[in-house]
């Protein structure tokens, strides 16, 4: 696409507004040297653990297990494997978290983790993970169940007979035109 280079070169906001779905993810990197294939195959030590712990700090829900965050982090890393620049950027970000304290990020108390994340939450790797992480986490049916979002309704004939107007706590509501 002839316009791609120009587009990628546009100044970016620190925050992606809009309903940025897959097609609109920010193009990351472009600055780092491509990694060797061998380097790509070898996951850095604790990379998945750090990614999972970071995802949990981004979207902490008591009802979601560590295994869930680990699964989502794994999927994110799989996606990055096809994008060497983005993976390198992500690893640089994880290193900031892991190298800045007495223990790897994943082993630190939550309150310390939060403070560390606060230092990197404007970094491009973080913004990219936040946006894609939101999709991975909040498109998952298990999360919908926990939050109480019921999703597709056409196969059940919609919500017309399934609670669209079942509110019962309003004082004197429902006077219609």
């Amino acid at each position: 696409m002839a316009g791609a280079d120009t587009l990628a070169g546009l100044g970016r906001r620190q925050v992606l507004g809009g309903i940025a779905l897959g097609a609109l993810l920010p193009a990351l990197g472009g600055l780092s040297a491509p990694l060797h294939a061998a380097e790509l195959d070898a996951q850095g030590p604790g990379e998945r653990e750090t990614s999972a712990a970071l995802l949990r700090q981004m979207f902490p829900h008591g009802a979601l297990t560590p295994a869930f965050y680990d699964e989502m982090a794994g999927r994110y890393l799989e996606e990055l494997a096809a994008r060497p620049d983005a993976l390198a950027e992500h690893r640089r970000g994880l290193a900031l978290l892991d190298a800045s304290y007495i223990a790897p990020f994943a082993q630190l108390p939550a309150v310390i983790q939060r403070a560390l994340v606060g230092r990197v939450d404007q970094e491009p790797f973080f913004t990219a993970y936040l946006m894609r992480g939101a999709e991975l986490v909040y498109r998952d049916a298990r999360v919908w169940d926990r939050l109480g979002y019921e999703g597709s309704s056409v196969e059940y004939g919609g919500y017309l007979d399934r609670g669209f107007d079942d509110i019962d706590w309003l004082p004197g509501a429902g006077e219609m035109q």
């Binding site: 936040l130 946006m131 939050l147 919609g158 017309l160």
Partner: protein
């Protein structure tokens, strides 16, 4: 199926199949004129529509690159559709009419610095019968004997809170969504996915209303997957043919006359990108106003964590409206007004946009209360500004080799003042209902109401089109979408686009019969 020859210079070519183009096509075809409608996107069927926002976003949305400067998202400034039916696939179905004072904006609001405020060249009295026709065509609830839709939970919260705040003008709104089966389409079953296409066809979309009706006349040919690239001006100064890309091939269709209804970005791009000796600044641009005065209503939100469950996703997106703030009351500190209506959000949309760039407990504290959320959308008038404009990037080209549109938009101080007031008004409504927490959300939704870039007026130096939407400069070239709006009013634009297209069709029919087109 009717098919016309590329050499048939008697066909009227309509570019775009949405609210403007779809309606104009049907109106002309039903009056016996030959119409070819060129649509850039594919033709879906009802079976292609599923209750999945991500899947439908990718199926419906215009995703070719666009840029922006100023306020909008630099990568995705405008949320339009590239599919048969255009943005009627994505719209909520809300059908308010312009208020008379909004059509007389300049007279009503007076001098507003840094705006190009004008009165409409069409009077409210002239528009009234066309609004009637549009409402009857679309089966708008609460009009012409069509019952209102039933009130659902999100609306009931809004209504109860609004009454506590002293508001009185509210109901489940005038919607182009069947409340009873009509026009061969079922009634709404509250699927809760209005903006992802209505899987039942209860919501009016030209894909399954105007387009098939036009085909039934035998005078209409729809050509999906056809991206118009050029309009050729003949020796006589009229448009002689339309060139488009179809499956990688360039195809040229001769034409008797042409109407462009591509939603403002594409309409602007087509006009500006067609320069010639006769039209050095782009087609029909002797005024220099093509692409200028770009307007987009602000759409801000307020969300409340309510004391009881709401399940706000279980109903039409726009499930009701409060109209009291629509009036022009300058004592509030701004001109014009706004509507308060309902809106739901999926967990994903909230995660991404509730606290733009936010994370952690501030975000999940509210998400954990998802079943308890009520949501409202505040949409207000946007005054026209010469500096808000759509232009073409000098170098960047898209996959079709077309220049990438650049949208520049900044809020006018009047808009900023109205937003501040609107957030407070919205907050008060949910506070009155005992909300535990209130979240104010900003203009994160890419513009869905796009207007003004080929404004109509009487003076060829101060407008692009006549009051019937014919370009001042080219006798057989029309514009039939929101680009025509001289001002934006404080309400959703689709009903007005449809009413104007119906009015324009009658005018074109007369011109064709008189041999002037």
């Amino acid at each position: 199926m009717t098919a016309y020859s590329l050499d048939d210079s008697s066909v009227f070519v309509v570019i775009g199949s949405g609210a403007g183009g779809g309606v104009l096509s049907r109106e002309l075809a039903s009056r016996g004129h030959k119409v070819v409608c060129l649509e850039a996107g594919p033709r879906l069927t009802l079976g292609d529509i599923v209750n999945d926002e991500t899947e439908m976003f990718n199926k419906l949305t215009w995703l070719d690159p666009r840029m922006a400067t100023g306020k909008p998202d630099p990568k995705f400034p405008v949320w339009g559709c590239k599919t048969v039916g255009g943005t009627t696939m994505h719209w909520t179905g809300a059908c308010p009419r312009f208020e008379p004072h909004e059509m007389r904006a300049r007279s009503t609001y007076g001098d507003m610095p840094d705006t190009t405020l004008v009165d409409w060249p069409v009077s409210p009295e002239d528009m009234a019968p066309w609004y009637d026709k549009a409402e009857m065509r679309m089966g708008v609830t609460g009009t012409h004997g069509n019952p209102h839709l039933p009130p659902g939970n999100n609306y009931k919260v809004l209504e109860a809170g609004a009454r506590k705040c002293g508001y009185t003008d509210m109901d489940t709104h005038n919607m182009a969504i069947n409340s009873v089966a009509r026009d061969g389409r079922p009634h709404c079953r509250q699927l809760g996915f209005c903006t992802s296409g209505c899987a039942l066809g209860a919501k009016w979309s030209t894909l399954y209303t105007e387009i098939p009706a036009a085909e039934e006349t035998g005078n209409f040919e729809l050509r999906p997957g056809c991206m118009v690239t050029a309009l050729k001006v003949g020796e006589d100064g009229r448009i002689a043919s339309v060139t488009y890309l179809h499956e990688g091939q360039s195809v040229t269709q001769k034409a008797r006359a042409v109407s462009i209804a591509g939603n403002v970005v594409e309409t602007t791009r087509l006009l500006l990108n067609n320069r010639s000796e006769r039209h050095p600044n782009g087609l029909a641009n002797s005024s220099g106003l093509v692409g200028r005065n770009y307007m987009r209503h602000f759409t801000i939100q307020v969300m409340g964590v309510m004391p009881g469950k709401v399940h706000f996703y279980r109903q039409t997106h726009l499930a009701g409206v409060v109209r009291d703030e629509r009036a022009h009351r300058p004592e509030r500190g701004f001109a014009g007004g706004f509507l308060i209506s309902t809106v739901p959000f999926t967990p994903e949309v909230l995660a991404k946009n509730m606290l733009v760039g936010g994370w952690g407990r501030d975000l999940t504290r509210v998400l954990d209360k998802y079943e308890y959320l009520a949501g409202m959308l505040l949409t207000g008038e946007d005054p026209p500004q010469y500096s808000n404009a759509i232009t073409l990037h000098p170098e960047a080209r898209d996959a079709n080799g077309l220049p990438v549109p650049v949208i520049h938009y900044e809020d006018h101080p009047n808009t900023i003042a109205m937003k501040e007031y609107a957030w407070k008004a919205g907050r008060r409504i949910y506070e009155a209902m005992g909300a535990e927490e209130i979240v104010e959300m900003g203009d994160y939704i890419p513009a869905t109401h796009n207007m003004g870039t080929a404004r109509m007026g009487d003076d060829p130096r101060a407008s692009v089109c006549t009051p019937y939407g014919r370009t001042h400069d080219v006798a057989n070239l029309f514009v039939s979408d929101g680009s025509l709006f001289p001002t934006a009013g404080g309400c959703n634009p689709t009903l007005t686009i449809v009413a104007l297209a119906m009015r324009q069709a009658e005018h074109i029919d007369g011109e064709l019969r008189a041999g002037r087109l």
